[in-house]
């Protein structure tokens, strides 16, 4: 059929692997691909992989053909922007027609696309302007391309004027979303938000507009709203693995285990066969479910625990060559069992992990953190803390790892305990500020019932108790401060609270020594900080 259109060299691939293999060595002017390719990768995943591996130039055409009309398929496939999306049934004549149109356009725009492929954006911009001056039929394409080129080169002002001019005549989704993106980059969050909302008002299927809104909310610190927007984007187009992963992370930030688990589950499902596949989705799913089912012996809890075990088994099964992933899976499984009261099984798994650790294994910090978390979970707090202190020294220069170590050390407890502790800490701070010191002490102590080793929280208590002592000279208050300090003395020098700890230790010692002689002058210590 194609040869009758005048194509000189036509190659057929009978499945996705074959197609990708061919694209690895050759570039094709036109790729025509069905969405449904039987078992293995689908058409979207081929396009995704070609884009990821940069095996598809702007000067080439990728045409997706499909009998699928399901919304998730259509929107998903469109997100990777095939040059055309043709619905079946497709007749010879219609294909000929569409292909002809696309080839003509491609030919006319080849110069611009070639510069874009070479990342020669200023040249591409010049060529776009020339093309627009020629007043050919590709004006709209040129303006659209100009907008994104200006954003790429950081010329936000020019991009903005392109979009605003386009919108002056009529409402165009690409211009509205482009404008939103520019406003977001210019940190004009209110305006960006309005812009994206307007785009959605005109067409609720514009997935990018939800992405834009989510980013806008995130920049403004509204992580709940950001999560809601991503959930809407995912509801429209669930097949984008990267978005599911982002949603999972965002849900975790919001302490929303249920939605995090759902997002990671979907990510794992759609990542299968995809170039974005990695063990992290299944591991994260296992982690969410492990935490969610911890101590929950009801039917629902048991099911979640089972699901966690199954997901982690699948991770080991599918990524058997990834040693760290397999070890992490084992550790998380130990936690799941511990959470269900199966201490013996949990200990066996932990032992198994420790045995395999000797074999010269190169463990990543993630695996070590998982190890520490499991030690906590199985009741080996001291070992966990020793491990984390050792890690702090080893990764002293990696801020992201240090902060993970710190938060695990402060709060090895589950989400619920963390949320409660945070609330109580806040009310403690408020009470302190209102001068209601006795009540503040009660609040901080209640918070510490949930997270007893939390450094900042303990130090807050020390500070308030110390102030109370200065007023009352009652030894009971000094004892509260000393006891709280004992909960924090273990923290390593890299911990953010380390300086404050030693300042307060000095204070408490001074008061202990001089308490019966004179009242020490107020040192003007800062008010307790947020945990």
């Amino acid at each position: 059929m194609l040869s009758s259109f005048g194509a000189q060299q036509i190659e057929m691939a009978s499945n996705a692997e074959d197609a990708l293999e061919k694209c690895r060595y050759d570039f094709y002017d036109v790729i025509i691909c069905d969405f449904n390719l039987g078992p293995g990768k689908n058409g979207q995943q081929i396009l995704e992989e070609l884009r990821y591996r940069k095996r598809l130039r702007h000067t080439h055409l990728f045409i997706m053909i499909t009998a699928e009309t399901a919304k998730d398929v259509v929107l998903g496939a469109r997100e990777y922007q095939p040059d055309a999306y043709i619905a079946k049934p497709i007749t010879r004549t219609v294909l000929e027609q569409r292909l002809g149109q696309l080839l003509l356009q491609q030919k006319a725009l080849k110069g611009i696309n070639r510069e874009i492929d070479l990342a020669n954006y200023p040249k591409a911009i010049t060529l776009c302007h020339q093309k627009i001056d020629e007043k050919t039929r590709h004006q709209s394409w040129c303006y659209q391309t100009l907008g994104s080129l200006y954003i790429k080169t950081g010329d936000l002002q020019s991009a903005e004027s392109i979009y605003r001019n386009a919108l002056a005549t009529r409402e165009l989704p690409w211009a509205r979303i482009g404008l939103g993106q520019v406003l977001l980059l210019q940190q004009k969050y209110q305006l960006a938000q309005q812009c994206f909302e307007q785009a959605i008002g005109h067409n609720p299927n514009l997935v990018e507009a939800y992405d834009g809104l989510s980013d806008t909310f995130l920049k403004q610190g509204q992580s709940k709203a950001a999560q809601t927007m991503l959930e809407q984007a995912v509801a429209l187009s669930p097949r984008m693995v990267t978005r599911q992963e982002k949603l999972g992370g965002l849900s975790l930030t919001n302490n929303d285990l249920e939605h995090a688990a759902l997002a990671y589950k979907m990510a794992a499902q759609y990542a299968e066969n995809s170039v974005y596949d990695k063990p992290d989705y299944l591991l994260s799913l296992g982690k969410c479910l492990a935490e969610w089912s911890e101590g929950d012996l009801s039917e629902a809890g048991r099911q979640r625990a089972q699901e966690a075990i199954a997901a982690l088994d699948r991770a080991v099964d599918r990524f058997s060559s990834d040693e760290n992933a397999c070890l992490c899976a084992m550790l998380i499984q130990a936690r799941v069992h511990a959470g269900q009261g199966e201490q013996t099984t949990a200990e066996e798994l932990l032992y198994k992990f420790e045995c395999s650790q000797d074999e010269e294994a190169k463990l990543t910090p993630t695996t070590y953190l998982e190890f520490a978390r499991t030690l906590y979970s199985l009741g080996h707090r001291q070992r966990a803390e020793e491990l984390l202190i050792e890690m702090s020294a080893r990764y002293a220069k990696q801020a992201d790892i240090l902060s993970q170590i710190e938060s695990l050390m402060d709060e090895p407890e589950g989400v619920e305990a963390r949320v409660r502790a945070k609330e109580l800490n806040r009310s403690g701070i408020t009470l302190f500020e209102q001068g209601r010191l006795e009540e503040a002490v009660d609040a901080f102590r209640a918070a510490l019932n949930h997270t007893p080793r939390h450094a900042a929280l303990n130090l807050n208590l020390v500070q308030v108790a110390l102030k109370l002592f200065k007023d009352s000279q009652q030894h009971e208050h000094l004892k509260i401060a000393r006891d709280a300090l004992d909960q924090v003395r273990h923290i390593p020098t890299q911990h953010q609270q380390y300086k404050r700890l030693h300042h307060l230790i000095a204070q408490v010692e001074k008061h202990t020594q001089h308490s019966e002689l004179t009242r020490a002058p107020d040192t003007g210590a800062a008010s307790p900080g947020d945990a």
């Binding site: 009998a67 497709i90 004549t93 149109q101 009529r170 989704p173 067409n203």
Partner: protein
């Protein structure tokens, strides 16, 4: 929640299923025809099979569209399109069917004329009008497009007897009320086209559908205005 299943949903799911099956059927017939010698094609009346299958397909697409309209699930994806591209595609699509009926199909449209509309939907509407014209024309069909009040006006002219008097009096948007059980005509196409055109809005302008008799070829004229 009501336990009773939503009947419209059941119908819509079935229609969706039928449409997919029909799509496969049309594709198979096309493939089969490619292999047939020309004389056999005529003898077997292949073009009638193709025409009727296409007609049912258009109807099913419309039914689904109406279901979505009804449930407010209908979202347009409006973009700029060259009208000649659309017309050429239709010419290609209907060439074989029309040739076998000795009907010529041509278009008259400025090469540079562009409009802002949902490509698939508007093609669906034009397909339906063309199907209808194919049925009632004598020997010619002409597609005409022109710029109109900031938008485009797309027309299908034929040289048949024209629309019946009664239908001309009906507002296309209310065409469904006049279901004629004698002729079997439901006016569904007209109703659908009208609803879809109305969804195309620009500023204070709204798309619409009109029918009249006369036109360039003296038969029926189906017009859709898209702002």
């Amino acid at each position: 929640m009501n336990d009773k299943p939503d009947f419209t949903f059941i119908i819509a799911s079935s229609v969706h299923d039928m449409k997919n099956s029909l799509g496969m059927l049309i594709h198979s017939v096309d493939e089969l025809c490619e292999r047939l010698p020309p004389e056999l094609k005529d003898a077997l009346n292949v073009s009638t099979i193709q025409y009727e299958a296409q007609r049912v397909n258009n109807d099913l697409i419309q039914l689904l569209g109406l279901y979505r309209l009804h449930n407010e699930m209908f979202n347009l994806s409006i973009d700029e399109h060259h009208v000649t591209d659309i017309f050429q595609e239709q010419l290609a699509h209907y060439r074989d069917t029309l040739a076998s009926r000795s009907v010529t199909l041509q278009y008259d449209c400025d090469e540079e004329l562009t409009g802002y509309f949902d490509r698939e939907i508007v093609i669906g509407v034009l397909n339906n009008a063309l199907n209808n014209a194919t049925r009632y024309t004598r020997s010619q069909i002409l597609l005409v497009a022109s710029a109109c009040e900031g938008g485009v006006l797309l027309e299908v002219h034929d040289d048949g007897q024209g629309y019946p008097e009664q239908l001309l009096k009906t507002e296309p948007g209310k065409a469904l009320r006049g279901i004629d059980f004698h002729t079997g005509s439901t006016n569904l196409g007209l109703y659908f086209a009208s609803r879809v055109a109305e969804l195309h809005q620009q500023g204070d302008k709204k798309g619409n559908v009109t029918i009249r008799n006369g036109g360039r070829l003296g038969g029926g004229v189906f017009s859709v205005y898209l702002p």
